[in-house]
Symmetry: C3
Subunit: 134 residues, 3 copies
């Protein structure tokens, strides 16, 4: 199997977190590579990637609520499309995450999940991943 | 060609985004490496790197405007140099970006560009890049 | 020596930065690898990693002070554990940092140090690192 690929997803709301951990873990396993570094990349400019707690969905809701307080939603932005807050949130979260891989498994912490962060949905989205051999 | 190098740039304003995509793409092409991961690293503590929309310059202006609302610019900070907001923005944007490379090309999304984020200019700056073979 | 490992640390305060540069540099040196990319990974969901100025400790204090202004500390969050601000700060700082390595040395800028960012201490913590050969 190639050590790079794409995961497609569809978001349902304007802002939401989508847990992509299982899809990335499956892709890593399918490569047959035991040890390395998995980089997940988001090619969209109004979405991001983050790693945070997945056990209690309230954490995801709280992060999204906080971002809407942190980012000035009613500022007189100049970008005519009207989605400047989504662009700003994208840069605050970041465009990629890197996770160590050992024995074919993502070395996430006990409570960690990888989240695709939609800030301007709903949309069809994709993330790309690459597994670098360690 | 070596798979690592430096891109020099000069910033003109206190805060500005500088599109370094073409310079990084050229450096990647010059290595002759087809597939891998390009890591771009910022060695400065009052600047950062981000990937966001490059088509409409208003997006860059809006992100910079938002950062000046998000970060408390008039807080009684203790760092005597007076540029604590620039240090904070540096950590919010991050010190590196990672981009997948396929067939010698950065795998950026349609609207994405790589931006050097100046928060305490004008200055002579540099970014370092490294291409890891996939 | 293996090219991956763990650094243990104990934090003393609710929020603090811990400079882990020397520990990561020593780990990199012990691998015997000259050139590559060092990825440092934080497996905790109420902590993060950042690279910023280490010369004046006031910068660390100012970043922590700013984060407590940026993140709404008294928002009616829904996560019952009461540490949602720490989760949000974790995502703002990010879960990993990547640093180029040349001649066995981390290629940090003159003033840069790697900081573990505790947002919900005091706790026993760990970070994992991996050195990818360039």
């Amino acid at each position: 199997m190639p050590a790079t690929g794409t995961v497609n997803l569809a978001t349902a709301r304007t802002m939401e977190f989508v847990d992509i951990t299982a899809a990335i873990q499956q892709a890593v396993r399918d490569t047959g590579v035991a040890d390395g570094l998995c980089v997940v990349y988001n090619p969209h400019t109004t979405a991001g990637l983050t790693i945070n707690e997945g056990a209690d969905p309230a954490v995801q809701a709280d992060i999204l609520a906080a971002l809407q307080v942190i980012v000035p939603m009613r500022h007189p932005f100049t970008h005519q499309e009207g989605n400047s807050p989504a662009h700003i949130m994208a840069s605050l979260m970041g465009s990629s995450v890197s996770v160590l891989v050992a024995a074919g498994r993502l070395q996430l912490g006990t409570w960690q999940k990888i989240f695709f962060c939609e800030f301007d949905g709903s949309r069809s989205r994709q993330v790309r991943w690459q597994l670098m051999v360690g």
